[in-house]
């Protein structure tokens, strides 16, 4: 199942110095909330992506803690201020400590 999980990010590749740019991210993940029952009436155990960390050139930009009330395939959009050329890095972690990363290079013209 873990193979189906794929992060997707959308962000522009170039920016002006000091520009605040929008970042959109999505990770395909069922976000099992631990409330649902399967056909046999057994509770499906909780299994959610509980954290997203965003860094730019290894400096922290944003940390998100997700709870069960975040929809499946969690979509997140936010902003980042770019002062120099660098790499925007994303790390998602779920309840079983699986993690997925994605990177995007941004060039400051």
């Amino acid at each position: 199942m873990a193979d189906d999980i794929k992060p997707r990010i959308r962000v522009q590749n170039t920016a002006r110095k000091g520009e605040v740019i929008e970042v959109k991210t999505l990770i395909t993940h069922p976000m099992e909330n631990g409330q649902r029952k399967d056909a046999a009436g057994k509770v499906v155990p909780r299994m959610i992506v509980n954290a997203l960390k965003v860094t730019y050139n290894d400096k922290p930009v944003m940390d998100v803690k997700l709870e069960t009330a975040v929809a499946a395939n969690p979509f997140m959009s936010f902003f980042v201020k770019v002062e120099e050329t660098g790499t925007l890095k994303f790390t998602w972690t779920d309840d079983e400590k699986n993690s997925w990363t994605a990177e995007s290079k941004i060039e400051v013209a």
């Binding site: 605040v20 740019i21 909330n33 409330q35 649902r36 029952k37 730019y56 400096k59 922290p60 930009v61 944003m62 940390d63 998100v64 803690k65 997700l66 709870e67 069960t68 009330a69 975040v70 929809a71 499946a72 969690p74 979509f75 997140m76 959009s77 936010f78 902003f79 980042v80 201020k81």
Partner: protein, 149 residues
């Protein structure tokens, strides 16, 4: 005859309302629990203002309700939004998400999709770097709940 019908109806509605309250008490987080969750995360008394919470008034599908939260701030090294806490008062658990920002975020605005089990209120508390708290809330009507049950 007419009068009896009327009393019957009102009594029935009253019973339904009471039953509804009892069910809600058992299965869902209460507004008090939501307040507790928020005050555990951000200590102090939040003021109204600075926070904008955008969400549809009526959500047809509670499984994914788009929500935008933005906080007025310069986002400089000396004045920025430290954290944003989002909670809902009618879900099994009150917490929705916690965002921790840095001045590098540039703008304290986030968008996400939330699961809502029923019609309820979303509450947002923003914590500034100097410790002041701001809040905003909004009621969202849900036609089909997002609880998978």
């Amino acid at each position: 005859m007419k009068a009896t019908m009327k009393t019957l109806l009102t009594r029935r509605t009253a019973m339904a309302a009471i039953a509804g309250v009892i069910v809600a008490r058992n299965a869902w987080a209460t507004p008090e629990q939501t307040r507790e969750w928020l005050s555990a995360a951000a200590k102090g008394t939040p003021k109204e203002g600075k926070v904008t919470l955008k969400a549809p008034e009526i959500a047809e599908n509670g499984n994914a309700v788009p929500v935008t939260v933005s906080v007025e701030s310069e986002m400089t090294d000396t004045s920025y939004v430290k954290a944003v806490y989002i909670a809902a008062d009618g879900n099994p658990n009150p917490g929705v998400a916690t965002y921790e920002f840095t001045p590098l975020s540039g703008k304290a605005e986030v968008q996400l999709r939330v699961r809502l089990a029923q019609t309820q209120k979303l509450v947002v508390v923003a914590e500034m770097n100097d410790g002041t708290l701001y809040t905003a809330s909004r009621e969202i009507k849900v036609t089909i709940g997002g609880c998978g049950g």
